[in-house]
Symmetry: D2
Subunit: 388 residues, 4 copies
């Protein structure tokens, strides 16, 4: 049986990073619905992330997206974050939102555009130096829409060159996380379509390059927990962009579509030691709250990761191992399903009381009147968004 005290200790120290861009407006190519109370700049996004941390106790950092969060003084932004109780987390460069990038960024056939993209990546490492961020989170929208449009091999070589240049620029305590995605926005090839491509490049680069798993970026049927276990086993799992999906990269709240899958992922994390800080696995959200209010959606998402983690920690590992060794399929499976069937909400309420926060974060936020406050305060100005 799992040791409840140890489980609670692990849950108290969990660290889930929220993304600045999830606090702004987002949507589909068909429509971005405007919401009220949306932040208008990076400082207000940091405020919102701090709010989520205040109500959950386990979201003490916020990831930035450059240039969406570009400010004149990143030191001032870091100081602001510190004042509101959180830290600045991963830096996410954006090399997909200028007309120059129509045919790609670091894989573009045009060398001048590749250079421009690389410069932006290097600029982001400069920003990391100021913010103290440890992780450069790289996602490339690069790819092609039509067969023959560009050389698959040529693009791999260009990608490799850019990655090496950025890798060489990293400081001792800085890492590069290489994300992969099956499709969108490119619809024929993506230059990093799957974990294998990301892994191969990371192995080329060295120990500071790790694979970033976005849970919405796989082909239908892909067993994500296998990938997680495989990468963690080989010390190449850099972290997650958590969200959930029924179809493609739907970017719904993590755990909303398939909570059992999220649990299985966290089981592999627990079994592989991935909750230990030394494992270096970053747990980050990456979601779009197109129709639901953003701060409550992020609170709920943090809770969903917490619940999955709690259940994973409750797996009776001795029983699991024994059943596996005996080839007892049903008992081994039951070790997981029993943990999953457990209602962990009371346990998490206790964890929150230990942390000195309200045991019911959703209710507490609703009762706090915070949303009415920001709705008024942020009535003017331009709401933050993707600027697509």
């Amino acid at each position: 049986m799992a040791d409840t005290a140890a489980v609670k200790a692990a849950l108290r120290t969990q660290h889930i990073e929220t993304p600045s861009w999830a606090y702004g407006n987002s949507g589909t190519r068909f429509k971005v619905f405007a919401q009220e109370g949306v932040p208008r700049d990076a400082f207000e996004k940091v405020d919102d992330a701090a709010t989520v941390h205040r109500f959950t106790g386990v979201a003490p950092s916020v990831a930035l997206h450059i240039p969406w969060d570009r400010v004149d003084d990143y030191g001032a932004l870091a100081k602001h974050a510190d004042e509101v109780g959180i830290a600045l987390g991963a830096i996410n460069p954006n090399v997909f939102q200028e007309d120059d990038y129509r045919l790609g960024s670091v894989c573009n056939p045009d060398e001048a555009i590749r250079r421009k993209a690389l410069d932006h990546l290097l600029e982001c490492v400069d920003i990391m130096d100021v913010t103290g961020s440890k992780d450069l989170s790289l996602w490339f929208a690069d790819g092609t829409n039509y067969p023959g449009q560009d050389s698959i091999r040529g693009r791999q070589e260009r990608l490799s060159e850019a990655l090496h240049r950025v890798y060489e620029r990293l400081g001792d305590n800085q890492r590069m996380l290489v994300e992969y995605k099956l499709f969108e926005p490119a619809f024929y090839t993506m230059d990093v379509p799957d974990w294998g491509t990301s892994y191969a490049h990371c192995v080329d680069l060295g120990p500071k390059a790790k694979v970033l798993v976005d849970t919405g970026h796989h082909a239908p049927g892909t067993n994500i927990e296998f990938i997680v276990a495989f990468l963690l086993h080989r010390d190449r799992l850099g972290g997650f962009h958590f969200n959930s999906r029924f179809y493609a990269d739907d970017d719904l709240m993590v755990g909303a579509a398939d909570p059992y899958q999220l649990f299985r992922i966290m089981v592999e994390i627990v079994l592989g030691g991935g909750l230990d800080a030394s494992a270096g696995v970053a747990f980050m959200l990456d979601q779009c709250h197109n129709i639901e209010p953003k701060i409550p959606a992020l609170i709920r998402s943090v809770l969903n990761v917490q619940e999955a983690t709690a259940k994973a920690l409750l797996v009776d590992q001795d029983a699991l191992r024994t059943a596996q060794q005996n080839g007892d399929v049903l008992e081994a499976n039951a070790a997981l399903t029993d943990a999953f069937a457990t209602d962990v909400r009371p346990l998490l309420a206790e964890v929150r009381e230990d942390l000195g926060i309200d045991p019911d974060p959703m209710g507490a936020y609703r009762r706090s009147g915070h949303f009415d406050k920001i709705r008024v305060e942020r009535a003017g100005g331009a709401a933050a968004g993707w600027g697509a």
Copy 2:
């Protein structure tokens, strides 16, 4: 053996409708790349459609999207179309691009919003009366993102009510085409997710309601030609929104991803008599040219449909039937693959010469200098787009 003269006759009278919105800028949620020479209003879109018809000879109408193509005087627009040699085709209402539609249009839980959406649909029938359009092309972005968000049954009832109200408003020579889509922009349920849902509503409504098949709106693995054959057999195939996809609703040029699938679809059309005008099957494109120039992309798309049609017409139907009746799997399959392996470009060059146009539409357009002309003429003003 297929009769070449009859094949050519059929190809000369083929009618492929292009969509006004494909001439404007489009993109993904990540970025809409601006292109040069893009039309700035409905009149210029009609001009571009006329250009495509001038070079292909088989694209004599253009579908409109309201409000993207809203004009003060639809009669004037129809007259302009006539002057440049084409007709106005299907009217496509848009009930997904206002903030009111965050939770749906005709299926919205709020009755006032449903009423607003219905009014727009009825307004579009008014427009049809003026433009002489025969088809109201209905696609609903309605759906939900999260389990429980709304009542599946309740939404079906609201949908049914709206469809009946519109159906009653149709004139004698007007039809309603009901499109379906698996997902996007809704990511949990779509209110018309598949052909079965569309078909059931059409049967409820009556003979003027038909199913519209968008080739990019299916789950992976769906056999589209089966659906086409089934609907045509039951006189419920209203038409197509042609495009192609490797993944989801990628909206690539039709035939670009899987030309053999397009051929198989056209084979079912030919075998089921769907090329005859009396069958009432509308062949329309619905594509997004995010990175490629729009007019040449539409010319190429029209050619792709033409080539698939030509190959389908070349199938030796006697040999096919004989092999099928004999249970000769390989011979029956060969009747299709032999036609598909045929290079129909020479045949189509002859068809074009019969029509009095250049046998090489892509080359002719390139040589015409048309693009340089519109690039200059349309340098100012706001390029048309989706306004998302």
Copy 3:
């Protein structure tokens, strides 16, 4: 809040039918692994189904598969079932396991083979007359492997003719359930590939024809609960073949792959009144226990359906409706997730005590020594299987 007494009452009267063929050996095309204690004839399969009912209290009938369960005297088999405490349930004809059916059964291009298949279907109605079975459960393996192999329309006509002939033969209290499947064993077209095809034929036939939903028979991404809600709303949901899958028709234990999906399906059943006997929804399992012991796997499967049903019954329907009407996405979703997060095992233990059975069916079966008993008793003879 849901009324606990009513919830328990509903759970006590739940009726889940197990399939005779799941007690025999099964496998993939690569290998059927032999297990010990497997029944050798229909009588022993009935015994095993009775065992599952004895330990679960909610599995009082067993579906038969003809000819796998062919016996000389079906009256004797029904009497045996009654003696061991269960009833004979749906009759499942088999028109896919003779060399004659290489190109299909009722859709075969050869009329003599169609006639043979039809005769078998009619024979199965004769058997229903004797066994008192209410449901003829029709699944056709018919389809084609290669484009052109046979006429899609021709096969639909042959299918329709056979269905009509069987429909006319049904008695007053007999129904026909028409199952659909995306693929396998046919790999290009299936003649009933989706619910829409099945629904259209059922509407043609009349009120005694209903759609059968096998939870493993859909394209990736298909929203099964939408289909369930739609069919139930139109009184065309005949029942389920429950199982679960990660990839294709994996036939794993129901609820093993995605328990939240199973819950959502049961939510639609509860909301649509489908648990009432008057709704006529048959809850049947259809699984293959290739590597796990069969009787415990079926007990576990019955428990999984029970747990999903209990959670669905616990949904606070007032809160759900209110949130839906208010357009409160997160609250409406929470009405479902709160119920799903509940640990219903204690409640089900009480239900079992009410039924006079052990509150822990899996443990009780393990402790009973039943498996050791049948392992010995059934050591000789030929184990039942699919005979593929």
Copy 4:
């Protein structure tokens, strides 16, 4: 423009290996339909492979499957092959068809079973020494059906150990091809589910370990030509198991489902130099002719690979490169589509005349009377099959 003489020279020396098991009976888990004229032992399978070579001119070797092709004297089998004009090709071990392998072979939790599986793999290298085969083609059916059933990491370690043991046993001119597969027969995890897993193990092992791409083993939407280009670029593409699929591992005739995909794969092969013998890419078929006659189906399949190769060789590489460098999406795409639209059957007829065979292999086989001959000769005895 491609040089026709060079294209024809390349086509004359193409080498496509057929699989012994495709000449025997095969089917689905539902039914193996018996065919006439099926070989009854390895010698007759070799005869059939020689027949396919005789009619196509480009299929000079046959892959073996052990134990399905177990013979007392492999030297005698090799001699027989030589006498009928072909060579013995890759050796395919089978560690999935004994009851011991219920929970896996080299990944089984039971060490004794792992040892047994390893011994069989090593035995197959012994056979290679006798037959002169260069490639050990490894496909593991290993995996799990239920979450928790076994340790993902533990199984990776066991897999790695076995692969290392086999690798060490390989002779100087022997290679190990490591195949991957998404699912089937395991339905939760496969131990080598994707190319990334295979690649990582191959890199661990050394230069004699290469990835084997089976075209039917991917998740829906996977871009296979990307994988091919990537592996070839890194000198890790060992070869293909060609077949085609609409859904899962359907094992239809290669090119039957998506000839354009096959063409795109061959384009990457041509562009990456993979047709040169020095590249070490083995082109092998791996198909199941469940309903169609086997020898003609294999002839057709060889022709399909040939046609795709011919079209790939016809791509105007200069035009392609120029358009790619210019960022001309439509022209670059047209370089591929123009080649694909070409009817290469006349060119291939000339190649066959150069090879001294009938220009129409399908017709020539039909006219040869060969099938009637084997139908009579092989009337008695047990037809070869998978023995599942």
